[in-house]
Symmetry: D2
Subunit: 334 residues, 4 copies
């Protein structure tokens, strides 16, 4: 409460707190009074109290997320896939592939090469609404089928972005890991539906989302019973314009402290530039990332989308060599 708060004001705040189901502890200090509310606050809108007369400040002591919090599984979560591949374990997983699925040949060629280089997931986008009305919109479900075939032919898992609830069902046969893009991080309807899906979800951090908001979004998926969530750092918006986004590498150790969920780093979107992908991928593994997600293309310069941030296969190969060394420095394999 403010130093000048009157007894009436304090009583009114206590009443408001009791009304939402909190028990209230009052500490009357020499200078000001403090009211502590104990009880279930996850659904309480704290700003309601902030505008009451006499209130100086409202702070939430307990974290607003529960299922995603470290305390829920102190030992950490390992997401296990059908073929035995794990994300969150000692081995750092690698997800690689083009931004967009363009053709059967492209996907088979990519799958063969990324598998040989060390990836365990094949990535590729089937829905590309971002582009202008006149440009390539993605290959849709037929594209996913191609990706799935190419992946299975080479013992890879698949990861692809889901953008609408209606796509979940039709993507299900072809996708091992549903990706939720940064723009949908707070599309709560979509998250809730994915909570019902029996496949793991890779949730990307929004470019203006705090780590707390990212973990809150997880709750929507986990509340539905789907605990297989992998988080993804892919850059946040800052005042710096030298890079498209500022990849927040420190989010990796912070999330490991706050949550039990694995975290993957996406240096391709995090930087937007091919020449920055390798340094940031190395930084992410050095900081403890559980997996990396990189855009590669057998003919990177001709990629239908995101060409500038797509690695040549030789660059990817070289990068993997570096990452294997770095992984050993943090007690992991790759």
């Amino acid at each position: 409460m403010q130093e000048r708060a009157t007894e009436e004001q304090i009583d009114a705040v206590i009443d408001a707190m009791v009304e939402v189901g909190l028990s209230v502890h009052r500490t009357t200090g020499a200078i000001q009074s403090i009211l502590a509310g104990v009880g279930p606050t996850a659904n309480v809108d704290l700003s309601k109290f902030e505008v009451l007369p006499g209130v100086l400040n409202v702070l939430r002591i307990s974290s607003p997320y529960k299922l995603a919090g470290r305390a829920f599984r102190p030992e950490g979560s390992v997401i296990e896939f059908a073929n035995g591949v794990k994300v969150g374990g000692a081995k750092v997983a690698v997800m690689a592939g083009p931004c967009s699925i363009e053709s059967r040949e492209q996907m088979f060629q990519t799958a063969e090469r990324v598998k040989a280089i060390g990836a365990s997931f094949l990535r590729g986008g089937a829905f590309k609404p971002r582009s202008s009305p006149y440009s390539f919109q993605g290959m849709g479900i037929p594209g996913l089928q191609m990706m799935h075939e190419a992946a299975r032919a080479h013992g890879l898992l698949t990861v692809s972005e889901v953008m609408e609830i209606s796509q979940i069902e039709e993507m299900l046969p072809y996708v091992d890991l549903f990706q939720v893009g940064a723009r949908n991080m707070q599309n709560f309807n979509l998250l809730r539906e994915l909570g019902q899906a029996r496949k793991p979800v890779l949730l990307k951090r929004g470019i203006a989302a705090t780590i707390e908001e990212l973990l809150l979004s997880c709750e929507y998926i986990m509340a539905g019973g789907n605990y297989n969530v992998i988080l993804c750092e892919r850059g946040i918006r800052t005042y710096e314009t030298a890079t498209r986004n500022t990849m927040d590498i420190s989010a990796i150790p912070v999330i490991h402290k706050l949550s039990h969920l694995p975290i993957v780093a996406d240096p391709s979107h995090g930087t937007g530039r091919r020449d920055m992908v390798a340094p940031m991928a190395r930084a992410a593994v050095a900081a403890g990332a559980d997996a990396i997600l990189v855009e590669v293309h057998p003919n990177a310069d001709k990629a239908a989308s995101d060409a500038a941030q797509t690695l040549y296969l030789e660059q990817f190969d070289e990068l993997m060599g570096q990452l294997r060394v770095i992984a050993t420095a943090v007690g992991r394999t790759m």
Copy 2:
């Protein structure tokens, strides 16, 4: 080009520019060469050039939006509604109402009062996916029906948020102005569909969106033939934590310079606090806003959502008195 760029590098960049349909002008200076590309660049991904060897920097000279740009209609756009109400003209329009539609009584009571105080639009949300799975989800279409009846009974227009393509059709009979929320500012599929709708659209700026990105999003709506777009500033995310968002009042004159479209200010979401709504509404009108959008509720403390930022009706009345004076200072009425 970089100062050290070789002739081969320069030639390769010229080739890449020609390939996307640009004609290239080369200036060879004492220190470095500059390549200027002239032609249709709206669909060209500039970052493609940025990663070519020898390139220092790629800059877009012409603005990437056309239909939303000031040059398209130098005199400015005025959006006219069926009952003669205009947004973008000499009179500053007022849109007021609760965050959520809660009951018929609430909407009729609100409509009567806000009309009397000077509003010409009744606002109210019917879909509230933001809330937790266990809390109020909004009244949906029946709620919109109530709002529409209440509005018509008092000569008001209606504005309400559309969140999914599937809602457009069913909302159409009840809504005079479709609102697109900040989180959907880059939901390009939704924007494209609204380009086909024959009703005006109020497009809110995302909390991490630049003004340029906001205008680019307009292109999606306008490309479909729907030129009746109203922009909305509602706060951006910055490092400052004293307010929920930082309302970017300067966006108002900037948008008036760059675009012909009217702009409305939303001080309720821009600040998140009732005691900041009036100062920021006044600031917005003083800076030239074409309309304001405020949350009011006949019983603000008990509002089902956003209670902390909702004005009491008496506060709204007092605010309107101040705004009328300010409007005259900028050559407008209210």
Copy 3:
């Protein structure tokens, strides 16, 4: 404390709290324990506790500033100058003049005109280290003498920036209000010295400073006994690049809530563009600013510095007409 915190960890934190002089209240909840420390915390570095094992989060309940806080003078501070001019009272004060003092003629011409238009302070910079080694460095003390003469000849007060401790003494005879620039907001040695000066201080917010940090900087001045501090909002750095800075108009009502000190708005630096100065000056007064600080020049296009953001005198005159109307809307004069 974290949910998994052990009794040993909790005891260790309690010991650390007691060691810095706090009395500790422990609340043991179903899920987690909370430790509340009561006592003088202004000099306690809270991050020290944050890294102790078992600690989830450390929050400061009481505000870290005292003298600048609203509670210190709930009725608000009015800074009174020798000639009876007040900042913080019912009349909104106006400070106007060129960025740099360039000549005696320039200052007399400016003084005459700004006085006639309604200013009560003449501004002008004497030290300009910002410029390159080869460009204009400011006229120094002789310039201040000119400004002072011109101001006194027209019944104006003077305000000018002090950049180093060594300048305080020599500026004293010529300056009625010491300005501390945004880059020096956390130059604590300078602030401390100004706490000893018997002249008011105008403290500009740093472009990356929170409002809390601005108020903490005030403490350095006020702790020395100089309570005559005026705060200044001049734009913060955000991701938006359409304006040089984002002028945080909401800082005005926020500061009025948190502090008793008056606040002045500087729309010239806040926007960096002449065509944005008037809208933002109007917004600032509408939001409750106690004064405005604008750059004007009898020959704005030829100004030695900051030409782009400097108003023509006719623009200033027109702006003042608008501001007078707006002032009445918020119960003030101008």
Copy 4:
């Protein structure tokens, strides 16, 4: 120019460009005209043109810094110290020590240990104006003497922060590398003086400074003839509050592309938390940092300042083991 720009407006802009010494090339397109100015623009204030009637946008094509730019020394700079230690070469340098110099014993103890663990620089602050008026202000020159003795006794170099011009001369005998703090990154007077000093300078990036601004600040030092500048990334201010600052790891490869100067990473200030220092130090070396600067203390919990971000010596030892492995992954030693 804007699409609606008149011939008079275009001519006026051309005149203004010629006046500042540029030769102007005009391209008249179907939609708009473009004016290109060629000539020395380093001292030209571009915003001057931005506010001229008819101007849409002003862009600087050539980089505003020259001496710090990569083209000045494409092969990269290596800063060599008296004892043969190099920063910028194949070996990643390590700078370690306490935030504040507290006692002779502390410095000798630290010097011995950090040397044994692998550091080549001993760091320590002698001036601490940040603290409140009542707390520890730093030991000043006597402290630097102690640090220098301790360093020399163990074959280490010294690095310490200089805060005012007057300190340069007196620090000179004791300091091998002058550190300029983040708050002084744009204290141009100080930078200019350091340009005259015959000792290398470590320039920290301000928390709200762009990479371009950091390189511009270098020009002030280098213009004086002192080319021995080392840059330092230590975290920028973003909206994320989970860490004190967001350490911009991507600044490391960006600076290596734009500049020939070496870059050191400071994970202690970059994170503010002991448990984040090691992950971010590893990330920095993995991303290509030329040196790291870490706070260590023989009794970290009792450090007089910055205790929370100070490593225990055992942690530093363990970290160095990891860094040596990572260095090999990027073709370096440590």
